[in-house]
Every structure is written in C-alpha cells, then in structure tokens.
C-alpha cells in the first residue's frame, strides 16, 4: 500500500475560539479537519467541560508541512498570549494522498 508523508496539526483550544480556528483552517484551504470536545488540565487549570467557560475542543487537520507551519504560527500570534491554546505537529503517513489535497493549490 502506498503512503504519502504529511503533517498532522493538533489544536487544543478553549471552545470560545472554535469558530475562529475553523475559519482560519478554511482560509488556509485545508481539505478537512476533525473536532472533538475535550477535557483536561494545563496552564489554565482544570478544564472540566461541565460549563460553557471551561470547555475545550481538540481540532485536528492533516496538510502539507508548509500549510501546517503557517497555520500554527498564525494561531499562536493571534491567540497564544491570552487563551488556553496548545498546538503540536506530527509526521503522519496518509493513505490516498488525493483526499488531503482538495483545495490546497487554489489559494
């Protein structure tokens, strides 16, 4: 089975920013993303998710290394200082590379 190297960008952020992050992903023309609700603990304390203000989401997208780096920098610049925001990149091998290139070249 043939695979292609790509980057996976994982964003864990307070829910109030979900819409802004999704808009940033769409502007970067990623081919897709997956969002799940998240609970956990970090610099901003225990985020138990039982209350509007303590809710977090985990958003993952797979894209080219360049897009991933640009997105990560953009999000950190805008939200890194004041919000609960954690980002990381992973190398992944995707199957069916075509699925991850939907609109990548238009922008």
């Amino acid at each position: 089975m043939s695979t292609t190297p790509r980057k996976m960008l994982t964003i864990v952020v307070e829910s109030v920013l979900e819409r802004a992050v999704v808009e940033a992903l769409q502007r970067a023309r990623v081919s897709g993303f997956t969002t799940v609700e998240a609970r956990g603990f970090g610099e901003h304390g225990l985020r138990q998710g039982d209350w509007d203000e303590s809710r977090s989401v985990r958003i993952e997208t797979i894209c080219t290394p360049e897009t991933a780096a640009k997105l990560a920098h953009g999000l950190l610049d805008r939200f890194g200082k004041d919000y609960a925001l954690v980002l990381w990149l992973q190398d992944v091998e995707v199957v069916r590379a075509g699925k991850f290139e939907a609109a990548a070249d238009d922008g």
Binding site: E14, G45, D50, E53, Y83
Partner: protein
C-alpha cells in the same frame, strides 16, 4: 427568611454541599444545556404574555431608568475595582461588565419569591431583565480599551455574540412569542412552560450549586479583596436599583425585582462576550466573583434582604 426553606433554594444549597464535599454527583451536561434553554425561553414567554397587557406610555420611564442603571453600575464597579482593589484595567473592566449585566436565573428566583409572598410585580419586569443584559457589556468593553488606543475590538463580532448568543436570543424570542401568540394558543404550552417551571428551576439550581461550588473552591486563589467585592457590590447596586425604582415610581414588588436585577451578576452572556472582547482579562477572577460569590449570596441571602429594604423604603415614603 422564608427564602432559605424554599425547595429550589435548598436544591442550590444541596448542589453546593455536594460540590464542596467532592460528592460523586454530576448531572449530564446535556441536562444543564436543556434546562438553561428551557428556563430562558420560559422566562421570556412569561414576560411576553404580561407585556401584552401594558402600554408603551406606561413602560417608557421605568425602562429608561433601567437603562441608566445598566450603564452606571459597571462604571461604579470599575472605579471600586481599579481604585480600591488596584486590579488591572482589563480585569476591572471585565468584572464590572459582569456586575452591570444580569442573571436570568436570579430574576426567576426573585419572581417566585415575590409570587409566594403575594406581592404584585410590574408586567414589564422581563423587559427590564433584557435591557440590563447588554449595555453593561458594552460599557465594560469601552472601559477595558480605555479611550480607544487599544487594538481593534471587533464590534461586529461582539454584537453577534451578544444578540445572537443563547441568553438574549431566547429571552427576546420568548418575549415576542409570548406577546403576539393568542391566549388560547399559550394555554396549550402552559403545562410545560409555566406549571413545571419551578421544578425545572430547582433541578437547574442543583446543577448551579455544583458549578458554583467549584468556583467557590477557587476563592482562596483570587484573594480577599474580590471576596469582599463579591459580597459588597450587590449591596451597592441593589441600593442604586432601589433608588432608580423610587424615581420611576415602581411598586414595592417591582422595586425588589429591580434591586435584585441590579445586584445580580451575569454568568452566561458576559463571560462569553468578555472572553472574546477582553481576552487579556483573567476569566478566573470574573467567574469566581460572579458565580462563586455573588450568585450564591443573592440566591440565599440577597433576595430576602432586597425585598425587606424595598418594603421599608416604600413604607417610609408613605
């Protein structure tokens, strides 16, 4: 102090006890969300039905007074936080916005309290709730920016957050539906929205007790000043509310409602708006003050106190 033995208030206390004693009790999140939608819509509907019985002429002055109250409370709160508490400008402004804005659940509790004591309340009291919800948040944002030198606020985004946010949308929607729907039609939803209201409120307060207890546990980390502020500010704003109520000629019941509204602090609309508009403010401060200190104080002790004060000033005034 009959309020203390009210089952809904006791449910709140039970939630507080469960949370503070680290009980296993946890209500499903979907229930909290469902109940909050139900309560906001029911409050709006009830207000709308009553509003349809009053005339514009009759409500113009009280509503103008309410607006002035909503604009002035955050300024007073801001000055106290900044001068006495020496908190940063963003923190002071964000907390001030919460205290100028209101809590719909506290409003529902005071209406139930007055209903049981047989007091008459102005038919447009739900409109006062809606009017107090938003202006203070705008004042808070302006105070945070301190004269416009700060970064772009993004007013459109904030207006969207406020007017299309859950609480204002449901309250306003309920008001309109209640005001225009036929009485016969309203009767068909009375069992769900009006008859079951108090029970749903009790269940919601159980959950609020759990949530508030978590905030209460953080009081130590926010400092003594904020604890004192969370207890003193509702008394100051209730006093301002009583003053405005007398000026615009509200009944004793209406005075209690306006005092309670003034004393209450927002924990749905304001936190969401402040997080977006004033991100540099620390949410732990405004949530702990509003939800951990002021909300329990108003529910358990504040409401009977404001009612007593309202009756007293009306008796003195003849």
């Amino acid at each position: 102090m009959g309020n203390l033995l009210d089952p809904a208030v006791l449910c709140f206390v039970a939630g507080l006890v469960a949370g503070l004693s680290r009980s296993e009790l946890r209500l499903p999140r979907a229930l909290y969300e469902t109940l909050s939608v139900y309560l906001l819509l029911a409050i709006g509907l009830k207000g709308g039905v009553e509003l349809s019985r009053s005339s514009l002429l009759q409500i113009a002055l009280p509503l103008a007074g309410t607006l002035v109250l909503g604009l002035s409370i955050p300024v007073v709160a801001f000055l106290i936080l900044r001068r006495l508490g020496r908190l940063s400008r963003p923190d002071s402004a964000a907390i001030a916005a919460h205290y100028g804005s209101v809590s719909a659940v506290t409003f529902a509790i005071v209406l139930e309290y007055l209903r049981q004591s047989g007091a008459v309340v102005e038919s447009y009291s739900a409109v006062m709730l809606v009017i107090l919800e938003i202006p203070a948040i705008g004042v808070g944002i302006l105070l945070a920016k301190g004269g416009g030198s700060g970064p772009d606020v993004g007013w459109r985004k904030i207006a969207r957050e406020l007017f299309l946010g859950k609480s204002v949308f449901l309250l306003l929607g309920g008001l309109v539906i209640g005001a225009v729907a036929t009485p016969a039609g309203m009767e068909t939803i009375t069992p769900l929205f009006f008859d079951l209201f108090k029970g749903a409120l009790a269940l919601f307060l159980l959950e609020m007790g759990l949530v508030a207890s978590q905030r209460l546990a953080e009081v130590r980390s926010v400092g003594f000043f904020l604890l004192a502020f969370g207890l003193a500010m509702p008394l100051i704003s209730a006093g301002m509310g009583i003053g405005v109520a007398l000026l615009v000629g509200l009944s004793p019941g209406g005075t209690t409602v306006l005092a309670t509204l003034a004393a209450s602090a927002s924990y749905i609309a304001a936190p969401a708006a402040m997080r977006i508009a004033v991100p540099e403010a620390n949410p732990a401060l405004y949530l702990t003050a509003s939800l951990g200190i002021t909300f329990p104080f108003n529910v358990i002790l504040g409401i009977p106190l404001y009612d007593w004060a309202s009756r007293l000033v009306h008796q003195l005034g003849g």
